[in-house]
Subunit: 431 residues, 2 copies
């Protein structure tokens, strides 16, 4: 048996969840792994708060002391954000310690710097808890699929937005009410904009892309669009056509470079991600050997996150990880130019009810080289006619140009809604 | 960089798939893991066949020589079955080599012996390819969820039967035609009985149970029932009630002992396993920290299996696995007595159309302590009345006793069909 001393820096929800997990399940962990995990120190500026909730553990407010303590084998960084998290991780790695972190923002935005510091000895880095909560998706990607070239990743990476979209989809509830419900149930924070606007999912897909493609990703080149524009009308039209709207993180290697984005996406109702409901997350990894592998589970919460941290602690302790510097062996990714992205599109507009309009809109689409897959003209609106197009695959620049032109017509009323459509990659959906 | 010499014993579909994967993706594997995998020897009695398909690799028909060769780091055993596979694995482990195998039959039936031989040094054992093809489910269970007490596992563990049930469900095709279709498409062997009767899934759930509960399982105590009795009528009635029929492997720890079984199971159509179609497999692991985690992907085929073998080879080479002897630390499992198992049940029978019959059947169920959840009397059959009961949870002994008594009634015609129902564990299905 091997005893591993850890320090937890940041004793919030996840930190206290990790403490509770070790209290409860340490016997089973030791039995399976041969490793006994002892919390030597908890570092938090709220020293009295930690004292109240723990016994027999050193408590300090000074992270530097912890990150250099020769008796600590692994530092668990749980304060989040850029600084002082980055300094903590750097100091601990440079002191030869393993580091386990849930800090997706830091790794997505400055991963290149951090991964470089992680060496091949004890100074290694685990970050399972940074994506997908209790779902072992980083383990699957780094280790389980190590023999695969990864073709693409698609995922529901944020539980708050998936909860809201599920409520809108299944209950016909408009966005503000669904958001309020998510806040009341604890699935959304009081200021939910970080989740709602897609930034959280953006960090996660950027990080997954680095692991999948072994390149440093530029976070500012990730296209991010949230769900606050989604309304129940589009959800209902999507349903009529056999589609569901989900907020997806998508990463693909294309001829023009890496294409990484987060946006509301229409997927067929038989798609494996379509049936992932409420606060659940799901990551679909398409490997050249495995074909799609899908991992689904709770993407947030203290207990799932603690489970992921333990997985990393055990891996680091048993020498199991390759160096995190191997995550980004191939330098900086070339990002596809946004206008060059290929997608199918759903567009919805409201027009006057008179002859010739359909022909004019179809003409604009044709000018921009966009081929129409189907048109639906709804007759349910009292004043204006809702008109919906589904297109074949087209470049984004063409689509945006067409939208600009369409909006100029005087017979168009209100917004013109555009939602991207993905219907590739059905696990078990093809024969 | 570390060079690892492997030997492949058994150059069939999976063995040649592994050879092809290494030829194609070795650069990406080395980059990510720091490990260069070299095939030193291929062992197969069809020496000429191997010669035709490889170059620059030693070829032999003598496994003993390979299993003792001091230049081999890892032996990949792919011949399957009990002997000589068991002797090969034993010899290789005793010679201090790592062993990677896809041999679910051997591990399920004699895992206790094999796991004991696996030590903490180089003589370790990887068996990812034995369950779920390219899905990294054993990695998830042994490592990703190492901090969890596992409450239960439920899985679609056999692609052949899932393909057949999908065809029956979606195409209304009877069992024999669906089987013929699976055989024509290469998803079922000419003699498909090993898959159809549930034995393959039985091996897999037995092996998963050992990892989950850290106990040796007695394979002969696993209840196994196949799908050859399932007909389109029951599939259609199930659909009317919002259920889908899947062949599931189920393992739970109960008060009466470990409950492990394979049988056709009715699950609600919103259940995460319900939407897993065709040849796909899916494993749902319920951990006390994570809650359900579901892994889905292709469960068979040369390329997915090769991906799993590579994952093991890399893990063993980088020192990542705990000893396989840690898989079964807690001795022999106590199996629940079959009659004591708790389940809900669907029962369907055909009766004469006269008064009092429903009362008599309900009376028998009550005598056996079985409470009825719903009754449906179908009026579509020309001669007999189809009568369907859904029960609440009841002990299996009670259910079987009731079935015996019901079959004695002279107003019952033909078989009385019983299918177990599972509606717990909806990922995202509850709030």
């Amino acid at each position: 048996m091997k005893k591993i001393n850890i320090a937890i820096i940041g004793f919030g929800t996840v930190g206290s969840g990790l403490h509770a997990l070790i209290e409860k399940n340490s016997a089973v962990i030791t039995k399976r792994s041969g490793i006994e995990i002892a919390i030597k120190t908890i570092c938090d500026i709220r020293v009295e708060h930690v004292k109240k909730h723990t016994t027999g553990i050193g408590i300090t407010g000074d992270w530097e002391e912890v990150a250099r303590d020769p008796d600590i084998d692994i530092v668990v960084e749980l304060i989040g954000g850029i600084e002082p998290a980055k300094s903590i991780i750097r100091t601990a790695l440079q002191s030869g310690k393993g580091v386990v972190t849930a800090n997706k923002k830091l790794l997505a935005e400055e991963g290149a710097d951090i991964f470089k510091l992680s060496g091949s000895g004890a100074a290694r880095l685990g970050f399972e808890a940074s994506v997908g909560g209790g779902i072992p998706c980083i383990l699957a990607l780094r280790h389980g699929l190590v023999g695969n070239r990864i073709k693409s990743i698609m995922g529901i990476l944020n539980g708050t937005t998936n909860y809201i979209l599920t409520k809108m989809q299944e209950g016909g509830i408009p966005f503000p009410a669904a958001l309020a419900d998510a806040q009341a149930k604890g699935f959304a924070e009081a200021d939910a904009s970080f989740d709602i606007e897609g930034y959280d999912a953006g960090h996660k897909i950027a990080l997954l892309s680095m692991i999948a493609f072994n390149k440093t990703v530029s976070y500012s080149d990730v296209t991010i669009e949230g769900i606050s524009n989604i309304n129940t009308r589009d959800i209902s039209y999507a349903r009529d056509m056999g589609y569901v709207i989900k907020l997806l993180g998508i990463a693909k290697e294309t001829d023009g470079g890496i294409d990484i984005r987060v946006h509301p996406t229409m997927i067929p109702e038989g798609h494996p991600l379509a049936s992932v409901r409420h606060e659940y997350n799901s990551v679909m990894i398409d490997g050249d050997m495995t074909d799609p592998v899908i991992l689904t589970g709770k993407g947030a919460g203290a207990r799932p996150a603690a489970s992921a941290l333990i997985s990393d602690i055990v891996q680091l302790s048993s020498g199991g990880f390759g160096s995190a510097s191997a995550v980004v062996t191939d330098g900086r990714a070339r990002h596809v130019r946004p206008g060059k992205r290929i997608s199918r599109y759903y567009i919805r507009m409201q027009t006057d009810d008179r002859p010739g309009i359909l022909a004019q809109i179809a003409g604009v689409l044709a000018q921009h080289d966009i081929s129409i897959s189907s048109v639906i003209q709804k007759e349910i609106h009292p004043e204006y006619v809702p008109l919906i197009f589904m297109t074949h695959e087209a470049e984004e620049s063409g689509m945006l140009g067409a939208l600009r032109d369409i909006k100029k017509f005087d017979f168009i009323h209100g917004e013109v809604m555009m939602i991207r459509v993905e219907d590739s990659l059905h696990a078990g959906g093809e024969e």
